[in-house]
């Protein structure tokens, strides 16, 4: 799946977690802009993992701070 298609899928997946309706760009941060706590992060990551049938390990999550980085990581993890 290319970056645009991956981004579109992730945009749909993040919606239920984006409680405040923050406008999302590649620079949007999860901790800062979206105010995700650790529990939300776990549920959101699980939703992405299940949808794309991938694993995003804690080690990889540590490198992902914003939305763009997440999309890039998911593109790469799909191989």
């Amino acid at each position: 799946m290319d970056r645009a298609a991956t981004a579109e899928k992730i945009a749909a997946l993040i919606e239920p977690f984006n409680k405040k309706g923050v406008a999302i760009s590649d620079a949007t941060t999860f901790a800062g802009d979206l105010e995700f706590d650790s529990l939300t992060v776990m549920d959101f990551v699980a939703a992405i993992e299940d949808d794309f049938d991938i694993i995003i390990t804690m080690n990889q999550q540590a490198e992902i701070e914003n939305y763009g980085q997440l999309v890039d990581a998911v593109v790469k993890l799909q191989g």
Binding site: L39, M42, D43, A46, E49, I54, I55, T57, M58
Partner: protein
Amino acid sequence: MTDLFSKFDPLIETRRALLATGVTDPFNLVMERVISPTVAMCSGRETILLGTYNYMGMTFDPDVIEAGKQALDDFGAGTTGSRVLNGTYAGHRAVEEALKEFYAMDHAMVFSTGYQANLGIISTIASKGDYIVLDIDSHASIWDGCKMGDAEVVPFKHNDIEAMEKRLKRIPEGAGKLVVLEGVYSMLGDIAPLKEMIRVAKENGAMVLVDEAHSMGFIGPNGRGVAEDQGCLDDVDFVIGTFSKSVGTVGGFCVSNHPKFEIMRLVCRPYVFTASLPPSVVATACTSIRKLMHAGNKRAHLWENSRVLHKGLKDKGFQLGTDEPQSAIISVIMPDLERGAMMWEALLHEGLYVNLARPPATPAGMTLLRCSLCAEHSAEQVQTIIGMFERAGHTAGII
């Protein structure tokens, strides 16, 4: 100069705001005198202890105390050395023998704390390219063990067998896999469906480590823990435990049937690079563990206490961590930290000590009053405790 402490400002502020309400600092209590496993003097007040993890009340067992005194006389106050150099005394071997018998396993390795046992075993056996699959509500020592090692770390939703299975199946072919579980989760006092989880782990080619810190001594026919109780201890590769709960002293251990387990003594850094436990501590632990092998009556009484307290608090209208009592931990859910601290203080004024637990130690950002029962709590004490909760609950506006 950047003040390296500025990252703690939010916590310092939370603490200041809490103490400004005039509440007693819940994290600064001093036990002035300890009268028994279930009673101590706090701020000059006789206080029932209901938050000590002293499940089997072994801290004041006469045989245990006697063994400790004898070891102090015979072997001195400390070993001043690592287990692999000058720090292995007869007592360290003896307590490892006792553990092997207790669990009916081939190998036992004693660490200076349970925290170090998790830190050492997890970080050493799972290395670069391996995967650790663990429950998101795992104890801090498990998380720190993951962080200290170089393995890939994959958490799954608490006690969710399907979530665990999916993740195991996505791990690349050929990679080493370690599943880390706990028997009893100490925040809510709930147990894991180990039988199913371990079956799934094994089907997917993983080794299994189970932390039985909160079950040793009273769960399972021989007190070996939740895995024994569910009939799947034989499939557990590594059991982690502690002396700081049912055993009644301090120390940690790992028991295993792995044929190459003994090599851990040379490669596990938190075992090698720290001083061994004092002779008096291993002597008390050894005596205590041997007595716990024959503690059927105490176990039955502890379960009775757990059931009575659970029902009593539920009937009074408190919200509890589990619908049914599953362990010797009964967790009472508070609406928020401020009212949790008020309730904690009201209980202290009644003469009852419980554990106040709050994020990040707790799941889902909860504030909890954790009660851990002791086999030495009398039936009358448990009734007294329920009355104290009822009065304090009204004072703090919880019920």
